[in-house]
């Protein structure tokens, strides 16, 4: 599976003509994807890494339900796709997301930088390898922010007598 790397494959005739794709770290802590053509270079995409990137978690809040569940699972450690689904079932959630929904959400969150792909390792239950995911610091911050938001809602529900008061 492609990491947050170059998402495309080069057309064979182009490669033979001398074109190449590369990632380059610019001076201003930005990563650029470059298509190198003989006599020329063309920039395809540019995004920032490091501090700049992290500040952008607000645009992902509030998280979708599936996304929050994914972050919840990954906060505890690295999981693979089906493992996350099993966690959701174990939590007693009534509407379990479909596999397609789950993996689209995973792709979206990798794109947003909230999670990243870890190594491919064997699963305890089977002999086959699976793709594992790991939460990033941005993802952790986003998960905490959303959990706080949910907590505040629960508190308000208790005050409004929708939920019983906490038993200390």
């Amino acid at each position: 599976m492609a990491e947050r790397g170059l998402p495309v494959r080069l057309w064979e005739p182009a490669r033979q003509a001398g074109c190449t794709l590369a990632r380059r770290l610019d001076n201003d802590a930005c990563v650029a994807h470059i298509l190198y053509v003989p006599h020329m270079e063309m920039r395809l995409a540019r995004y920032s890494v490091g501090m700049d990137r992290d500040r952008g978690i607000d645009k992902h809040l509030p998280l979708r339900r599936v996304e929050f569940h994914i972050l919840l699972s990954l906060a505890a450690g690295e999981r693979h796709g089906y493992g996350i689904i099993q966690d959701i079932e174990a939590r007693g959630e009534t509407s379990i997301p479909d596999v397609g929904t789950m993996y689209r959400a995973l792709a979206r969150m990798v794109e947003a930088g909230l999670i990243e792909a870890a190594d491919r390792r064997p699963v305890p239950a089977a002999d086959e390898r699976r793709n594992y995911y790991r939460i990033t610091s941005a993802g952790m911050r986003a998960a905490r922010a959303d959990a706080r938001r949910l907590g505040a809602l629960v508190q308000a529900a208790r005050i409004g007598r929708l939920l019983p008061k906490e038993v200390k």
Binding site: W11, L35, V37, M40, G81, Y82, D98, V99, G100, A105
Partner: protein, 892 residues
């Protein structure tokens, strides 16, 4: 074993479902999705067995369908390269937004073009193609009698007894109905209320049953309600629009209305979709406002004047109907006409109604198709130059792995989106356009009420727009997809080069060919229209005002009372300030709205009588007029005198027209001769030029003007000559008539100029449309040529710089550049020439007095085309002269 097989099957199923996702997502996540599903499958098999597994399969299908589509429309990660429709549409939209001028001009052109097309399509569809609102309209026919063995009248009315024969029915004819106009339709809601005029038709009681139309309110006529004044009260059935005019009161059934002063009980109201036009033998179809039963039973009326409508049995072929009608006709011919050979023949209902308008509509339809083709070519050439500009960008995405289909698809999408937008906006514009068309169209246009845009037509136009856009983008898409790597490696786009210019030239040639055809057609139609405008109708229409007033026998039982009333009205009208004269006639020129009386006359003893019984008989129109008519109308008096206020006792005066004078009195001296008419004879007192009744540009049937009171003709129309603006007279005219007798309504007030314009309106509309199309085609061809020539100049600038440096003078260089454009124009002319011949066949119906191969007009059209196109080539060619050879060669 079983378990493994189930798992194996599951894996195959999941892999199949994987294909529903777009390729990028498949590459990245596809195997992970399958693996996750396999884990679930194992779990399901363990816990629930085959049932749970089957349920999982179904869930997987639903999941793949939903998420596959969602991923294609709205991909999770933005860097996806292909297979995502939503992203592609988004990209195309952004591209269009970034070049607003291109997008706006293209959408604007498409809007105007598709809007015009929508209007044309609506008119053709509603009038020509849509079925009429009756049951099985294909089985309905009008039956006419062919009087040609006796007189020159091919479409004549039938007698009541003839229709009774048809009603007897046989294997082919199921039923027949007879209609005749009611003379006079003065109508008021109650005694003393403001009277209005409506068009009333008398009909046999089975008409609505024959047409298969159920009434909205009440009932149709009963068979025993035929015959007014036979002890039963008079009854009347209203049309829906008349009912609306009267207030749309459901309780109107059973109430009484006054028609011609007599009370009629309303027994029924027709449904709103029912529009029936009563066909006349010689005149255009008439609107009907209300129906009353016939005065006499059909079988007891041997008089002519009925229009016959028959319904054939289901499935009867037109030939069988014609044969059956012919058989009945022959029997009648033998019995009533001594076997003179008078035939009956049927004409299909719709064909009969639209026969007059058909040629214009066919032309309109063809012009619409040509317009769509023109738009397509124009859009294609525009998209092609855009594709050329994007050549570099396309090469990059090719290098990054986009396949041919994806690249072609984005160009097709662009064309489709533009076409869709143009179609949608065009439909909106056409809603206004059809309203304008209906307002401009002549009042007697058949099915005029039905012409409006409904959602079906709107959807069709939008679909056609999108299809047009996609088709137009086909050539550019193919060209773009074949963009090769060389343009990428060369590091800069070679603008306007190579294969793309071949396409552009082909399109310019097509546009020039189209322009030739449209221009020549337009020039011919305009020439014919100009002829019509200049034609002398036989009288002076400017400054004439006309109103329609009946003097019904119910109000004026004796002829002398009617005459006295009319004289009083005439004097009252002449007394209005600004009026120089007033008179009356039974038929107005150029309307034939109430068709004139006709009579066959012979003038025995006239010098021109050849002794041949056939040639010496003439079918002439009889027009009853009041004194001073010729002077008020401004007709030409060629010999003798006109009717004056005073008259000789015992002498019935008549004025003949030049046709009769020429035939019977070739040496002159018509005045004083006598024409026998029935038991009486007319004395010719003068010869006048015809005030044309039918066509502006040519004389119709010969005319005889008689004093209306001599024959009991009650004139319908009053004509008033004034120095003021004609329409301003209306209030005073109404007041004058009210002052004489308040019971008589003044209707149908029109200026004669408007009547002349209305008779010319088919040509006017056709000419305007074709000219608009021609101008548009020419403009597009000129733009195309401009583009080709300037592209050529840009491409050849090095070569031209070398030539200039080597001493070529300016005219030579100009000729060199112009040669390319001139070649395209000549090619277009050659290809378009056969098209001219095809178009002539189509517009023949619109041309009046102009031959379709009129050389001067065609020459003028071609010259005009050459002028515009060469100017379009010349402007960019001049740029070639501005090339600085030294600088260009230094650049290399």
């Amino acid at each position: 074993m079983m378990r493994n097989r189930m798992l194996h099957l599951s894996e195959r199923w999941f892999r199949l479902l994987e294909r529903l996702y777009p390729p990028d997502f498949r590459d990245e996540m596809g195997s992970a999705v399958v693996e996750a599903y396999m884990d679930r499958a194992r779990h399901a098999l363990q816990n629930g067995g085959k049932i749970h597994l089957a349920a999982l399969w179904l869930r997987a299908l639903a999941d793949a369908l939903r998420n596959g589509a969602a991923e294609r429309a709205c991909p999770a990660a933005s860097w996806r390269r292909a297979g995502d429709w939503g992203r592609e549409i988004e990209i195309v939209r952004r591209r269009l937004v970034r070049s607003p001028l291109f997008a706006l001009t293209t959408i604007g052109t498409l809007t105007i073009g598709l809007g015009l097309f929508a209007v044309v399509y609506t008119a053709v569809q509603k009038v020509l193609l849509d079925p009429m609102p009756y049951k099985d309209p294909g089985d309905l026919y009008y039956v006419w009698r062919d009087y040609s063995p006796i007189v020159d009248l091919k479409r004549g009315t039938l007698a009541g007894t003839d229709i009774a024969e048809l009603q007897k029915g046989n294997a082919v004819i199921e039923d027949a109905a007879g209609l005749r106009p009611m003379l006079g339709g003065i109508f008021s809601l109650r005694e003393g209320a403001e009277p209005m005029e409506i068009a009333v038709t008398q009909t046999s009681p089975n008409l609505f049953h024959l047409l298969g139309v159920p009434l909205a309110l009440g009932r149709s006529f009963a068979p025993d309600e035929v015959g007014l004044g036979r002890g039963r009260g008079h009854v009347i059935v209203l049309t829906h629009h008349l009912w609306n005019r009267l207030g749309a009161d459901p309780g109107i059934l059973g109430t009484e209305l006054r028609l011609q002063g007599r009370p009629h009980t309303v027994v029924g109201v027709l449904p709103p979709e029912f529009t029936f036009v009563r066909n006349d033998a010689a005149a255009p179809p008439q609107r009907v406002d209300a129906y009353i039963p016939l005065e006499v039973h059909l079988a007891e009326d041997p008089n002519d004047g009925y229009a016959a409508l028959i319904r054939a049995r289901r499935g009867a072929s037109p030939e069988a109907v014609a044969a059956a009608v012919d058989a009945v006709g022959r029997a009648i011919d033998a019995r009533d006409f001594n076997g003179r050979g008078l035939k009956l023949y049927p004409v299909g209902l719709k064909a009969d109604v639209i026969s007059r308008i058909r040629p214009a509509l066919v032309v309109l339809g063809a012009a619409g198709l040509v317009l769509v083709f023109m738009l397509m070519v124009n859009l294609a050439s525009v998209l092609l130059s855009r594709a050329a500009q994007r050549e570099h960008e396309v090469a990059v995405s090719r290098a990054l792995g986009a396949n041919t289909i994806a690249i072609a698809r984005s160009t097709l999408l662009e064309g489709g989106l533009l076409g869709l937008a143009g179609g949608a906006l065009g439909t909106l514009g056409a809603i206004w356009g059809t309203k304008t068309l209906v307002a401009l169209a002549p009042l007697d246009l058949p099915r005029r009420d039905a012409i409006s845009i409904d959602w079906r037509i709107g959807a069709t136009v939008i679909a056609i727009g999108s299809l047009l856009g996609v088709l137009a983008a086909a050539a550019p898409a193919v060209w773009a997809a074949r963009a090769s790597l060389s343009s990428l490696l060369a590091g800069g786009a070679v603008r306007g080069g190579g294969g793309q210019s071949r396409w552009r030239r082909a399109m310019v040639v097509a546009q020039v060919a189209l322009s030739v055809v449209l221009l020549s057609s337009g020039a011919l139609v305009m020439r014919s229209f100009e002829r019509l405008l200049r034609a002398d109708p036989g009288f002076r229409p400017d400054g004439l005002f006309t109103v329609r007033m009946r003097t019904p026998p119910e109000f004026f039982p004796k002829m002398s009372e009617a005459v006295a009333f009319q004289d009083r009205v005439r004097h009252a009208l002449a007394a209005i300030p600004g009026v120089t004269g007033a008179s009356g006639a039974s038929t107005l020129p150029l309307t034939a709205a109430s068709f004139p009386f006709q009579a066959t006359i012979t003038i025995p003893g006239a010098p021109g009588t050849a002794g041949d019984a056939e040639r010496d008989k003439v079918l002439a129109d009889l027009i009853g007029v009041r004194p001073n008519y010729v002077e008020v109308m401004g007709m030409r008096l060629l010999a003798g005198r006109t009717f004056t206020e005073s008259r000789q006792a015992g002498v019935m005066e008549a004025m003949i027209d030049t046709a009769i004078a020429r035939q019977f009195f070739p040496g002159g001296n018509a005045v004083g001769a006598k024409i026998p008419l029935g038991e009486r004879s007319l004395t010719i007192i003068g010869v006048v030029g015809q005030a044309r009744l039918y066509d502006v540009h040519t004389d119709g049937r010969p005319q005889i003007l008689i004093r209306s009171e001599d024959f009991g003709i009650r004139p319908l129309f009053f004509v008033i000559r004034t120095t003021r603006e004609p329409h301003s007279l209306l209030p005073e005219v109404r007041a004058a008539v009210r002052g004489v007798d308040p019971r008589v309504p003044v209707g149908d007030a029109r200026a004669m100029d408007d009547i002349v314009d209305a008779s010319l309106s088919p040509q006017a509309i056709g000419g305007a449309l074709i000219s608009a199309f021609a101008a548009g085609a020419l403009l597009l061809a000129a733009m195309g040529l401009f583009g080709v020539v300037s592209g050529s100049v840009t491409r050849r600038r090095h070569e031209l710089a070398v030539r200039l440096a080597l001493g070529a003078d300016h005219p030579r260089v100009l000729r060199l550049v112009l040669r390319e454009g001139a070649l395209l124009v000549m090619l277009g002319l050659l290809i378009g020439a056969p098209g001219i011949y095809i178009a002539k066949a189509l517009i023949r119906g619109l041309l009046v007095g102009v031959s379709p191969y009129d050389p001067p007009t065609l020459l003028a059209a071609v010259l005009g085309l050459l002028l515009v196109t060469m100017a379009a080539c010349y402007v960019p060619a001049r740029r070639a002269l501005g090339i600085d050879p030294a600088q260009l060669l230094r650049q290399g």
